[in-house]
């Protein structure tokens, strides 16, 4: 992991220019493997700029990525809602403008535990950015215009809600010690993807109880009705085995189906990790025909295949 973070610091991109119609790229810190170097591929991302573990890249790799990804029609940049990422991206955008490259950003802020509904704009971006990137990449591959790619990516982002739980911390290499302390028999609901504090800590209970609490936060924020179409991503944070993730899916699926929700796309696995943290997150994305088509469109990259 540490080696990778060194190798991949700077611009990470794969030569796909000849496939590209519009360009989509992701800008943000590292430490969330496979986010996002692992999602570079046909029908997904064209480039990404990565920083050190849990730190925004400075604007230079961002600018290089934008320049690399631009095919003359502009670039859509997907940025998770963190201060450093946003500030550096704004600067990279100003730089790109000087070179007459149009760079549009879509901010992902899907973590319902990080701010109230009234302050939804302040929410952190977590695993929802995988969905947003997939949708945007598929739209670009289908030949949408840059502004249409941005619109559908924004729609995907608006339709995403996520919440995470953590059972153990991770250690950022530069810090050298665990980001937070948590007892062996404790669980934190709403923990952020970098170990930011959640909404509550308690003794570990059964998976079903934990899932019920996660769902109650998600559905309180965006109530579901019978007939709603949704995609669900049960995401491991790194240290949780996949069997346990399937236990989460089992409960979530049955509870959502009780309400009458149709789960039309299901993913279970490590899609946006937090180094070696034990825990998981659930992301729900409300679907319509367009989002479903784009989410299930062909994509070829190391960590996602349709």
């Amino acid at each position: 992991m540490y080696m990778l973070s060194v190798v991949l610091r700077g611009v990470c991109c794969i030569e796909l220019r000849h496939f590209r119609i519009k360009s989509v790229l992701y800008l943000g810190g590292f430490g969330h493997i496979p986010v996002f170097a692992g999602y570079i591929g046909d029908g997904f991302l064209d480039a990404c700029a990565v920083g050190d573990v849990f730190a925004s890249p400075d604007m230079n790799p961002m600018l290089e990525s934008i320049k690399f990804a631009d095919s003359g029609q502009g670039v859509l940049c997907i940025v998770a809602n963190y201060g450093g990422d946003r500030m550096n991206f704004d600067m990279a955008c100003e730089m790109a403008e000087m070179d007459d490259i149009e760079a549009i950003k879509v901010i992902v802020a899907d973590d319902v535990a990080s701010a109230s509904k009234e302050e939804a704009k302040k929410r952190r971006g977590v695993a929802g950015f995988v969905y947003v990137s997939k949708v945007a990449g598929a739209a670009a591959a289908k030949g949408y215009s840059l502004s249409d790619v941005a619109d559908v990516a924004q729609k995907a982002s608006d339709n995403c809600r996520s919440i995470g739980v953590a059972l153990s911390s991770c250690t950022v290499p530069q810090a050298g010690k665990p980001t937070f302390e948590i007892a062996n028999d404790e669980i934190e609901i709403g923990m952020g993807i970098h170990g930011e504090p959640g909404v509550g800590r308690s003794k570990i209970t059964s998976v079903d109880d934990v899932v019920d609490e996660m769902l109650s936060h998600l559905l309180e924020d965006r109530p579901a009705q019978a007939g709603d179409r949704m995609a669900i991503l049960v995401n491991g944070l790194g240290g949780t085995p996949i069997e346990e993730l399937y236990l989460i899916l089992r409960r979530a699926k049955s509870e959502l189906e009780k309400i009458g929700v149709k789960l039309e796309h299901i993913r279970v696995g490590n899609y946006a990790t937090s180094m070696e943290m034990a825990g998981a997150s659930i992301t729900l994305m409300q679907l319509d025909d367009e989002l479903k088509t784009l989410l299930t469109a062909d994509a070829v990259c190391p960590f996602w295949e349709n």
Partner: protein
Amino acid sequence: MSFTTKSIQHTITEIKQVIDPIGAELNELDGRLGDGDLGVTMINGFANMGRITDDMPEDVGQALFAAAKAMTAVSGSSFGTLMATALMAAGKSVKGRDAVEWSEIPKLLQLAQDAMISRGGASLGDKTVLDSLEAVIKATTGMSDPESMQKAASIAAKEALAEFIDKPNKIGRARVYADKSIGLEDPGMVAMCRLIDAIPAK
């Protein structure tokens, strides 16, 4: 004579030669209230800007952007980011021009100040480099001779430093120690004084 890419190159080269002792002083000042990396930011920033001066384009706007890029490449600190923000805001307004009149410089500084306020979230009166900049803009507006502008700027920056020394810091890490910051020089304001004095007169 007007302000050109040559002026930028010359300024960076001259400051680079004297930045080490300035940086040491700033590190110490910053260590009392902040994270103590202001001097490092300055030393690394000017060293890296010095590396690219030979390749700067004649377009003054692009040259200022190149300086901003070099600054951010070595520093993630907030002061480095704000310096780059300032350079970019000024650069954007003179894109495509090979020469800028000295009398326009206060206007560029004003754009830089606006951009720093909007990106950094500080306000005038918070005891930051913005207050120094404000004093410098006021002192140099309406002037067109670089030598007298530098003298006026130098005096204004020092007066601002003295005016604010007994006020508390209202933003950034120093805000946490607001009371402790009373009576202390703000490191960013000191940086402004030292940089102005390090700029070659011509």
